[in-house]
Amino acid sequence: MYIFKNAWKSIIRNKGRNILIAIIIIVVSTSCAVSLAILKSANNIVDAYNSKNPIEASISMNREVLITKLREDNKTQEEMINSFNDIKGITEEEIINYATSDYIKDYYYTYTLGVDAKDLTEATDSLVKETTEVKTETSTSSWGSPFNGGKMPPRGGNMGGRTTSKKTTTTTTEKIFNEKAQNGAFTLVGYNSYEDMKEFVNGEYIITEGNVSEDFNSSSCVISEELSTLNKLEVGDKITVIDTNNTKKTYELTITGIYKENTESSNDMTTMFSNSANNIITNVNFIKKMLDKNTNLTENITPTFILKDKDDIEEFSKEVESKGLSEYYMVTNNIEEIEAATKSINNVKTFATTFLIITLLIGGIVLMVINMINIRERKYEIGVLRTIGMKKSKLSLQFVFELLIVCIVGLSLGAVIGSLTSVKVANKLLESEIKNTSEEYNNISKNFGIENKEPDENKEEPEVEKVNRYNFGVANINEVNSIEAVVDIKVLLELLGIGVFLTLISSLVSMISISRFSPLTILKERS
């Protein structure tokens, strides 16, 4: 106790020296607080982005392996196509099996199925074919690519039917296109939940009328604006889809919403209709019901696995391969995409970290030098205290206490100044992100069409609130928006840690000096 008391007296009665140390600590801690706040904000932004865009893995056709195989076997084009069509698609069981991996946090999948529809005109610019006499044809394919054999829909775009405008001049190619068209003019796309509907979440599809039904067991659907206009369909109307293998088998769907494909997303300038024009968006359960009644129908399942960590991707790929994934398929991921998007904010993080390290380094060195001068000035005091029997350890402790007290005062002031400054700095950084996030959240709500509805006072739960239950994979805006959290308890603890670190580092000088000083020599020098 007397050590602390003596340390306190020493601080109080040597104000000049301690004020100088405190000023240095204030400067260092202010810089540290700003750096830590920037780091925290940057981390928040990166976390928000990562929570919006989790590390996803999917399973895609490994075309490179496929083409190499076909070339090796020296097959004709027709044989190639037949071989390709023989490749089995990924089943739901396989997906569930892969999803049991420890590396997977969550997963979802979409079903797509080619169907025909009763009294429904497909959105296609095939009229071009009829009016053009040359051997040029544009036709509709269920999957949009002549090489996927109806097994896998293309990644990243729409999930099903696609009006392709590729004009071909060879008869063979024309034949292939025609074969694809036999699968059905319309594509049923089935989802399990709002969160799975990435096209809506990303704003690729936007509801213009009605909404996407919250009931993922219902026989409801949303259709494109094009399909709605062509067939004069409105929300509440019913459409009948027909089994492509058996025209007697029909299934009824109620239209709950009409969507349009975002023009920025569908930039195919050569087609009259958007890629998703013939997509009938429903739920997985509806498609499953159809499949239960007809084993001849071939569905396509596109899985998306949400990984726990980006470092797990390789291990997950190996695990999936060991679980029997065909060599014609491969695990793809979005890591590059995510890293590219967070590159600039990571640069800010690097800058803040470098600034923090330099500040600490310079601060530490300056404190050590000042402490060294301080110790030389206080040599006499050390000599006297050692002469009257104060142990080296206790003397060192007194010096540590003194510096620690000054450090804590300096840190507290630095934290206050830092928090005031850092809020402004962090605000600048956060401002744009908050704006983007808010807009994104609102846009997604709009995409589902639910925001358009006026809250019904008679209902216990307004529709808008219903939608707010879903975060659509977008991070909570309030977390990003929380300026108060910039210099929070975590940052304060980090600052305290820095203070203790600086104290101990600069106290090392005192400790070494105290252990080396001979009290007799000091007192002799003094005399």
Binding site: N14, Y380, E381, L385, T387, I388, K392, L520, K524, R526
Partner: protein, 213 residues
């Protein structure tokens, strides 16, 4: 002290400051160690006080070898040191200097401040000087505070290095009175390093150090 010899670490092998010293000191007596400058008086004092450890021979305190003792504890329990230049802590007042010494020695005293004032009075200092910064005290007053500090934990030995070197004759006599009282009335062993004839006249025994020719 048995065959105690000392030389500086950077000195030549046979260049001793002290050689084969065989002195004994008893409680209740006032001793003087005299000699010319450079004869090793202060060095001898630092050996006895445990401030210097690298010496040849043996120093025994109560039959215990000093080399085997905890010298910090020895210094803050058994030895009180008084210097010519007082060596008080300038940022503390007279009272605090004495109380700090008690704190360091861990002496069991009910009220340290009261005890400190009592000690100040015993060395002729008035209570109103207690809270005065030591630098604002006269040389004599500072030396009295230093003596009071050395007595604060009731040591058996008082070592004084030229305690009256900076004082006038009158004050010197007063200080010597205090040392004599401590030795004769309080049964302490007081060893004074000096080259003052006045001091030598007042002590019970004198040891003289002479430089080797």
């Amino acid at each position: 002290m048995k065959d105690v010899s000392y030389r500086y670490s950077d000195a030549k092998k046979d260049e001793y400051v002290l050689k084969n010293i065989n002195y004994g000191f008893n409680l209740g007596k006032l001793y003087a160690i005299k000699g010319k400058s450079g004869s090793g008086k202060t060095t001898l004092l630092s050996l006895i006080s445990g401030l210097e450890k690298k010496y040849e021979g043996t120093i025994l305190y109560n039959s215990k070898n000093l080399k085997k003792m905890n010298l910090d504890t020895y210094r803050n329990t058994d030895i009180g040191i008084v210097f010519q230049s007082y060596n008080l802590l300038p940022h503390l007042n007279a009272l605090e200097n004495i109380v700090l010494s008690m704190d360091i020695s861990k002496v069991k005293v009910k009220n340290k401040k009261e005890k400190a004032i009592e000690l100040m009075k015993s060395v002729g200092l008035s209570e109103n000087l207690a809270k005065r910064r030591v630098l604002k005290l006269s040389g004599g007053e500072q030396q009295r505070v230093a003596i009071a500090r050395s007595l604060s934990y009731n040591p058996k030995i008082i070592l004084a290095d030229e305690p009256t070197g900076n004082l006038d004759k009158e004050t010197e006599d007063e200080i010597l009175d205090i040392f004599a009282r401590l030795a004769h009335e309080e049964n302490k062993c007081v060893i004074i390093v000096t080259h003052s004839a006045n001091v030598c006249n007042r002590v019970d025994e004198i040891y003289e150090l002479k430089k080797e020719k």
